[in-house]
Each structure stands twice: as C-alpha cells, then as structure tokens.
Amino acid sequence: MNLSILLSLVKIIVVIAYLYGLFWVMGVKVRPVVIGGKKVDFSLAINVLGVVVAFFIIQLGLTNIGGFQLLNNFDSGLLFQACTMTMVALGLNLIYGYNGQFSLGQWGFYGIGAYAAADITYRWTNGDASGLVVLGTGVILAGIAIWLVGKFTSNLRRMPVLSSFTLYLLGSLIAAFIAIQLGKLLSPAINPLLGTNLAPGPLAQGVWLQVVFFLSVIFAGIFAAEISFLFGLPVLSLGSDYFGIATLGFTIVVYTLMVNSDTILPFPEMRGGRGMIGIPKLTTWFWAFFFMIAVIVAMRDLLHSSHGRSILSVREDEVAARSMGIDVAGTKLMAFVIGSLFAGLGGGVYAHYIGFLSPGAFDFLIGFNPMIIIVFGGLGSMTGTITASFGWIFFLEGMLREVLGKISPEAPSWRYVLYPLTLLLLMLIRPQGLLGNTEWGFLKLPTVPFKNTADEGENA
C-alpha cells in the first residue's frame, strides 16, 4: 500500500514537473545566431521542437514496447481527463478569473460540445452524413448571421438588449433552418460513401475519419460558442450573482434536455438518460495534446493582446474601463464566448475519449469542479489553472481513489468529503488560491526579444 501511495505521489510530481518543463521550453528565448551574414532566430524552432518532444515523451510512455507499457490505461485515462479539464477550466478562468463574471454555465457548454461532437461522428460512422453537414453549415451560417446582425446593430446606440437578442436569435434560427434543409439535400449524396458501422465506406475510415473527428470537435466548439453568445447577450447584462444563478440554470436546462434528448429533442441516438453509446473512440494522445496546447496558446496570446488587456480592465473596474473607451458589454461577451468555445472543444475531445456519454456526467453538481479548480489554482493564473487541473484529476481521481480503495471498497466516496474540507481550509488560509496570479515560463508576459547591441548602433 505504501508503495502505491508513493507511486501515485511520484506520478503527480512527475506530471507537474512535466508541465512546468513544457511551459519552460515553450517560452525559451535564445539570441539570434549569425549564419552567413544573416541573423537567424531559432527561438520559435526550439519552442516547437520542445512541444514535439514533450508530445513524444508521453506518447512513448503510452506505447506498448515489447509487452512493457510505462503508463497503463488508467493513467492514460487520467491524462485525457486532465487535458479536457484543462481546456474547460482555462475557459472558465478566462470568464471568471480574468473577466470577473461568476459563471457556473461552463459545464453546460462542455456538455453541449461533447454531445454535438459525439453526434457528428456517431452518425458519420453509422452511414449518416447529416450530422456533419447540418452542424457544419449551421455553425458557419449562424456565424455569418450573427456577424451580419452585429454589423447592423454596431452603429445603433441605446439599443435594448432584448431587441438585439431577438434579432440575433432570428438570424440564428434562419441559419439553422437553412442548414437543416441543406442537410436533407446534401447528405444523401455523401451517405453511400460512408458504408455502415460494420463495413465502413471509404470516407468513414483512416485519414478521412480523423478529419471528420477534427471538424466535429471544431464545429462542436463553435456551436457551444454560438449558443453562449445567444445566451450571454441578455444574461450578461444582469448583475454578477444573478448572472451566476442564470448560468447555473443554463447548466440545469442543458442537463434536463440531455436526459430527454430522445423525447423532447429529436435525437434518438442520444438515448436520453440511458446515455449515448457507440461513440467512436477517436481521441488519441495526439489530439488531446494538440487541442490542449492550442487552447493554451490561444488563451495566452489573447490575454497578452489588447483585447486581453480590456478583459482584465473590465474585471478591475467597469466604470474606469468604460471611461477609457472600452466596450464593457462587448468585452464581457467576448470573454464568455471564447471561454465557452474552449469548453466546447474540451467536450468534443472528452466524448471521443470516453466513448460513452451519460447526462449524469454533466450534472451541475459536478459542474462546480472547474470553478473549484480555478479557485484552487488561483484566479487569473493560467499556470495555476493547468497545474490544478492535472493535480485535481491525478490526486482526486488517481491517487485518492487508489489509496482509499485499498482501505475499504466504500472508502473512495470519502474523497468527496475530503475535498470540500480542503476547499474550506484553502479559503480560510489562502483565499487567492495556491499560485495567486503568478505565471511560469511561456505563460508569462512576453518579454522584449534579445537585441544585438551592434545592431542598435547601426540603426542609430
């Protein structure tokens, strides 16, 4: 028993050290080297190489080499879970930690992303292209419609929120209607190429399937983002606590719809409360890692752009931000939409790793987890969020489950008693979270690149 505790602890430490190493290598800057009279900056190449090496380190651990596999299925499951949780928690940190909007709706968007992505690939592997066609064209058309309405309303002042919401809603509904008609028109043309579940056609295997998987995750993310746009537009104008309760309500509504997806919603393949089975398990370590790194890079770059500055300023003081000419409502909406986009992407990755979606996994009680993670890690700290996500999954799901399971079969349920207590202690002792708002390596503010002193002389 002691050995397994030690092993779990070592795993946690190794994983966190791995993350820190990854962010260090992603943020490495080197002096430009002069080759043949030209200055070449190798920083980017080193960063990319570092990411690739980091990918292969875990990939090697997951590969079965001569009957030996360093990371077993349980560990790889934890890794995938941690990656999706990182995406969800980063999105929430953008909404809450950086923009100060107390949102409990992240889990709902996560669920929307998961179900949307799963539906696309499930239909695709069962010889029905309508999922991809409808959702793909739908999100694109809805995006265009939202953009057009936004263009139209951008020059209007004192437009009531409800009016613009109605216009956006109308636009999206028209887009959805067109997409459904397109799906009816186009999918019969593609369906013969898909084959059936047992005998997949040319488009339902190999590279094409991977492409469809990639598209499904992307479309699911955008779908979640568009829903969050429509939902956030009216709701963000409420006060902070009311916003929290309304978003909590959103999660509950999504959960209710999931439970009744085969009765209220017309999706018999989701099987309602019994759970959706038969989702192709397409998430590999490559995809999980790819999407996680993409989310991290996108969020880091966003935060260090001028939009990110306005997001931060809205958190600090809305009135001051408005007086500096920042569109407060628009900034809130942007943060909310991007955060939900990340949650949707995470949901898509999760669905294809787990292969089985049950509404119970998207219950709002579990939906507090990302909130607790970002509070643990430190609001407004990406490093803290990522560390806390990995630590949370590996500690709570990995170590405590294993260790408590050895004591008695019922003991693992004690871990849910322990973590609220830890949370209480943390709040009493260190309310700003474990890491406060410190960042590490790549996630730090970008510094001015190295300058050659001789170079400066020439310019002057």
């Binding site: 409800l162 309760i245 209220i264 609220p420 009493l428 309310p431």
Partner: protein, 374 residues
C-alpha cells in the same frame, strides 16, 4: 502613416418607442401570449384539472417560500448566496425522519399521558418533531456561520461564495456516505394521518381507499397545514423585521454594515441571528416538504434550494413579501409546466422565468431600484 481617417457614420440613437426597441418587447409579448394561450385553453377545456394544478402549485410554492425567506434575509444582509441553505433544509427533513422512525417522538404525548385527546396529542407530537428539526437546523446554521463564513467576512466575496459551495458539498457528500443518510430514496413516515376532502357539490371527506369522484377537487390537510405555517411565519417575520429591536438592527446592518457597527449594533450577532432564523424556517420547510412528498434523500435539498433562491431573486432579493410572491410564482410555474408542457422541464422553467423577469426588472418584482454606482 495614415493621418486622415475615413469619417465615421454618426451613430443612430434608438428611441424608446422606435421599431427597433419594440422588437424585444414584441418577443416578450409573443412569449406571454403563447403562455396565456396554453393556460387559457386548458382552463376552458378542463377547469377542474386546472384548479388541481393550481392547488399543487400552491403547496409547492408555500414550501419554497419557507426556504426562500432564509435566502432572501441572508443575501440581504451579507450579500452571499448561501448554497448550504438547501442542505440545511435537507437536514431538517432527515432530523424529523430519525425522530419519528427511531424514537417515535411524534407519539410522546400519548405515551406520557395515555388519556389525552388523540387529536391534541398528534398535534403536540408533530409540533415537537418540527421544533426539534428547527433547533437542530439552527444549531447547524450557526456552526456553519461561525466556522466557515465569519472568518471570511472581510475577504473578497468570491472566497465566501466558494466557501458556501464547499460547505454545501460537504453536507451533501457527507450525507451521501452509506452510514450517514446514504444515496437512496427513503420512505418517510408522516407524523399524522393524511385527511383529504373532495369538493364537488359541497365538501366531503374522502375515506381510506376511496377514490375521489370525477369532477372534484381534492384538498388535503397537508396543504392547509403548509399554508397556515407559511402565513404564520410570514406574519412573524414582518413583525420581527419591522417592529422589534433586532429587526431594526437587521435592516440597519443590511443597509450599511460599517455605519451600523458605529451605531452600536453588534453586527456579528445580528448576522448569526439572521442565519439562525433562516435555518429555522428551512428546517420547518424541510419537515413540511417531507410530509407533503414523503420520500426523502440526501440530495433532496439541491433543487428546492436553487428554486427558492430563484424565487427570492425573482421577488427582489432582500424583500420578504418579494420572496413569498416569487415562491408562489415558482410553484405555479412548476406545476403548470409539469402538467401542460413536459414533466422533466419543470426543473428548467424556474431559470427561464428568472432570466425573463430580470431582463424586464433587473432588481426583481419587489426590489428597489439599484443605486447608481459611484
């Protein structure tokens, strides 16, 4: 460098009565029309069924009101969504369950005084059970307040909110453990017999095993007890808040805490008292809810707690009549949704109504308009 920028089009100001401003209102009016149509159609087609639904909604709404009062008072004073309130409600139900099941507390008057009038004995026994639940809930709430919330009074609000979530989770997951309350549904034994009446042509008592005739409205004594208790609590609270010293202290604290402290009000005690009062009503609500829907489980407090908070927000948070009215609306909405739209959507309807009402009146129905931010 581009010095000249293209002249921007001057912004168009949307007047309150212009077409664009009316689009949003038209959306709301359309929604209201659809709801009215559904209700009116059902009222005309099956008026008795409609009245039955109203009665069911009343029963639910009055229980929600008891929980919402605690929410609205606590939020009014410390600006904290007390997520643990729903779990205090659950504890109240479970305390009465154990008191009845294990110790037969509801029968003590008959055991001590065998010659007592059975009706009085049952009444005293039930009241004792309820009082026990209320006392336990008060103790629990004061403990929570002292241990978890008080040290964080000057911390940022998020810390207190996260702590509230933590306390709520602790109560829930601790209760879910096998040796505490377990995760099962537990049948609840009522402390008194249910008496039902049906109204068709006059009021008749429904005998045991008899099914009510068609075209009749069924009313049970549980409904009457719930309504009586809630109204009594409301009157008591109005008296407490507006006529007594502690009530004045509560209002002063909710208005301006530092100044209240300067005026010699012991703010910490007032806040503890508020938590205690809220918890007492939650305990009462828990027992009544368990009596009305006699199947309890550990997570039973989650949804009623949330809906009661929604009710409090709907009525205007901090306002006692507001919480009551909001809870009645919640009860009706839930009952009507379950009957006429779809049963599972009844958990979702509360939040839809909340969003719509807050869009029109951002401070709730009875809420005072928000002060301008300095």
């Amino acid at each position: 460098m581009q010095l000249q920028t293209r002249p921007k089009k001057p912004p168009i100001i949307v007047r309150p009565n212009s077409f664009l401003a009316w689009i949003g209102r038209a959306f709301l009016i359309l929604l209201a029309l659809v709801v009215t149509y559904i209700l009116a159609q059902n009222l005309i087609q099956k008026p008795l069924y409609f009245v039955t639904n109203v009665i069911n909604g009343l029963q639910l709404g009055f229980v929600y009101a008891l929980i919402a009062l605690g929410y609205t008072m606590v939020y009014g004073i410390v600006k904290l969504i007390n997520f643990a309130h729903g779990d205090v409600f659950m504890v109240g139900a479970f305390v009465s369950f154990f008191a009845i099941e294990r110790f037969q507390l509801h029968q003590w008057p008959l055991k001590v005084f065998p010659s007592m009038n059975p009706f009085v004995a049952v009444a005293i026994g039930t009241i004792t059970t309820i009082l026990l639940s209320m006392v336990v809930c008060v103790l629990l709430a004061i403990t929570i307040e002292r241990v978890a919330y008080k040290p964080l009074r000057d911390a940022p609000r998020i810390a207190a909110l996260i702590t509230a979530i933590g306390v709520s989770f602790f109560l829930e997951y601790f209760g879910l453990l096998e040796f505490v309350f377990s995760a099962r549904f537990i049948p609840y034994q009522r402390p008194f017999e249910v008496v039902t009446w049906y109204i068709s042509d006059g009021i008749h008592r429904l005998e045991n095993g008899q099914t009510p005739p068609d075209n009749s409205i069924v009313i049970s004594n549980i409904l009457l007890i719930i309504i009586l208790c809630t109204l009594a609590v409301l009157v008591f609270l109005q008296f407490l808040v507006h006529k007594t010293k502690i009530g004045i202290a509560m209002r002063a604290t909710s208005f301006d805490k530092p100044t209240a402290r300067l005026m010699g009000i012991q703010v910490d005690q007032v806040i503890s008292f508020t938590f205690a009062i809220g918890a007492a009503f939650a305990g009462l609500g828990g027992v009544l809810y368990a009596i009305a829907y006699p199947s309890i489980k550990t997570l039973m407090g989650v949804y009623p707690g949330l809906k009661a908070f929604v009710a409090a927000v709907l009525g205007g948070i901090g306002s006692i009549p507001g919480a009551f009215v909001g809870a009645l609306i919640m009860g009706q909405a839930e009952s009507m949704t379950a009957s006429y739209i779809s049963t599972p959507m009844r958990d979702a309807i509360a939040f839809t109504i909340l969003i719509l009402v807050l869009l029109v009146r951002p401070t709730g129905i009875f809420g005072e308009p928000e002060k301008e931010k300095a």
